[in-house]
Symmetry: C2
Subunit: 331 residues, 2 copies
DNA sequence: TTGTATGCGTTATCAC
DNA sequence: GTGATAACGCATACAA
């Protein structure tokens, strides 16, 4: 069982010093083509490649970032992870996926990432209590922290989010144009600022058109079941004449849950009796069975912006990026 | 900007040598309670925690594994990633998520993981071409490689898979019992051995009941669209009297696509005119709108088995684990 | 352009 | 039980 070969071994074979070997593997280092060729040949014969671990220890850069996720129930996470890994890898940076759950909370995760010397921490869609971070930072040199796809309350923690104002404005305009006049909103979490913002914009843009939001329905989580249950409860509690004619749900999963309940178990026609709008444009919203009107987050753009900040190519600041409305048959 | 403190600094504060500090952080090391208390107090005041990078360099273990994924289109990947990260983290092991795509192929990914000195490589839902791995291994000390949720062709590369024989047997039994007699099968890839196996078992178990599989439909990928297109083509090309009465699709995504096409655009009733079975039990198969009968892979069990092998607690060998049939209204 | 000394923070091993 | 020496593999700074 052969071990990995080291720069020294390559140096011995090539007949140079190990520092010359290092130079051959350092882009832009001053080295003659001849030396470099010798080194590369020796390196190839030994299957040498630099030990990134040792390099990290010496440079104090791991070329590794931690992505923290605390909710795997939204399928939308998957394309985001694809984009994140793809674009980070293009920069030579590896992604450490850290699962925040009941065994491993936000603080554990952050400290663990710190112990692994990651170059940056991405809070991806996680619910982070705002006080936690300043407390942790006290007396510690934590890696830079970024928030992706969720708001940040902390002035010094940048968030890269979908532009909620734009999103809700185009949604409300679309609904109004289609003739809906009894709007409702379904939220998945009352405490989350991102959620709160969407709801506030929704009510505001409708009221600018002289229309009051008729109902705000609260699901307790962002799940199919929660959306379904919340709608059922609303349906039972509200006489037909009082019901909304369009329901905007805070994400696609909630919308699917609510729509299934409305259509499958309550016999409503979509969109004639009740229209639905979601948020995220996850894959299955586009199926014949749901055909859900929704708003698509500018995933590529968000991730590129994030990475530009992480790489120091762009000023670190909170950014709100516009996505696009996807109109289907549910409205 | 304070840097991370080191064992030496803690030692200075505690008035001991740095090796004593190390011992305080090494479970089971011989150290007096008094020393340990002193060290811990000093460590707490300095917010010290061991630098895992330096530890890795010294121990030649990174406590890090690479998980390679080459297809993020199947939502089923997400719960698997959740389980993987959860269970690995419980062992103190971090997961490096590596995206295999057109910019970064299997070989790149494996060599990169090797450069990062990971303790193991998990090929999740993807596999090497037969020749590749032995070639790479020649003259190199690669980390142990495991295949998860796909077959392995290589004798020395263990695969942890769902038991296809059990799965197909219970599916066929169920379909037969329900009275279906004109079975069809939709496959997403003709070359994949996992796919081939499922199809062969399907035909075999039906034929044991004296029934021939009426049609094998080929989609070219595992996507909603591919399932939909493949079914449309089949539907056009086959007279009504010749059509199957139940279609088992190789995964849920294909099934959803095919079902949507059959029901939404071709006016078939499910399951009266045509029944559907999927594979994976992904979230949305359980919705009212689809209510898809499917087979659930034993995710937790598979991952636990994998991790036991990685941790050296179990003999390294290919394992086939039974899942369970989930009956819904599509059959 | 190339070689040398030194440091990164930890662990393994041995002497006390 | 504790301290000391060496080593992990590479990079930085400096001297030649």
């Amino acid at each position: 069982m052969s071990k990995r070969s080291t720069a020294q071994q390559v140096a011995d074979v090539a007949g140079v010093s190990k520092w010359t070997v290092i130079r051959a593997f350092t882009p832009g280092a001053s080295i003659t083509n001849k030396s470099k060729a010798k080194v590369m040949e020796a390196a190839a014969s030994l299957n040498y490649s630099p030990n990134l671990l040792a390099r990290s220890l010496a440079t104090n850069k791991t070329q590794q970032v931690a992505v923290l996720v605390d909710d795997f129930s939204n399928p939308q996470k998957l394309p985001f992870l694809e984009t994140l890994t793809d674009q980070f890898q293009a920069e030579g940076i590896a992604v450490l996926l850290i699962n925040i759950n009941r065994h491993f909370d936000h603080v554990d995760a952050l400290l663990h990432a710190d112990q692994r010397q990651v170059d940056a921490v991405i809070l991806f869609g996680t619910a982070f209590r705002d006080e936690t971070l300043p407390e942790l930072r006290d007396g510690r040199a934590l890696p830079p922290v970024f928030v992706l796809a969720r708001d940040s309350q902390l002035a010094d923690v940048p968030a890269i989010v979908c532009d909620a104002e734009h999103a809700i404005r185009v949604i409300v305009d679309h609904l109004h144009e289609r003739g809906y006049r009894k709007p409702g909103f379904m939220t998945g979490a009352q405490v989350l600022s991102t959620a709160l913002k969407r709801r506030q914009f929704y009510e505001e843009f409708w009221s600018r058109k002289g229309i009051a939001t008729k109902a705000v329905i609260s699901a307790d989580r962002y799940s199919y079941q929660a959306g379904s249950d919340a709608f059922a409860e609303y349906f039972e509690a509200t006489p037909a004449s009082d019901r909304v004619d369009v329901l905007m749900c805070e994400n696609d999963i909630l919308a699917i849950g609510a729509m299934d309940e409305a259509r499958g178990r309550r016999g409503l026609r979509v969109p004639e009796d009740l229209a639905f709008v979601g948020f995220d444009n996850f894959d299955l919203g586009g199926t014949e069975a749901f055909s859900l009107t929704t708003y698509e987050q500018p995933r590529e753009h968000m991730v590129r912006t994030l990475i530009d900040m992480v790489m120091g190519r762009r000023e670190i600041a909170t950014m709100s990026l516009p996505g696009r409305l996807v109109v289907r048959r549910s409205t």
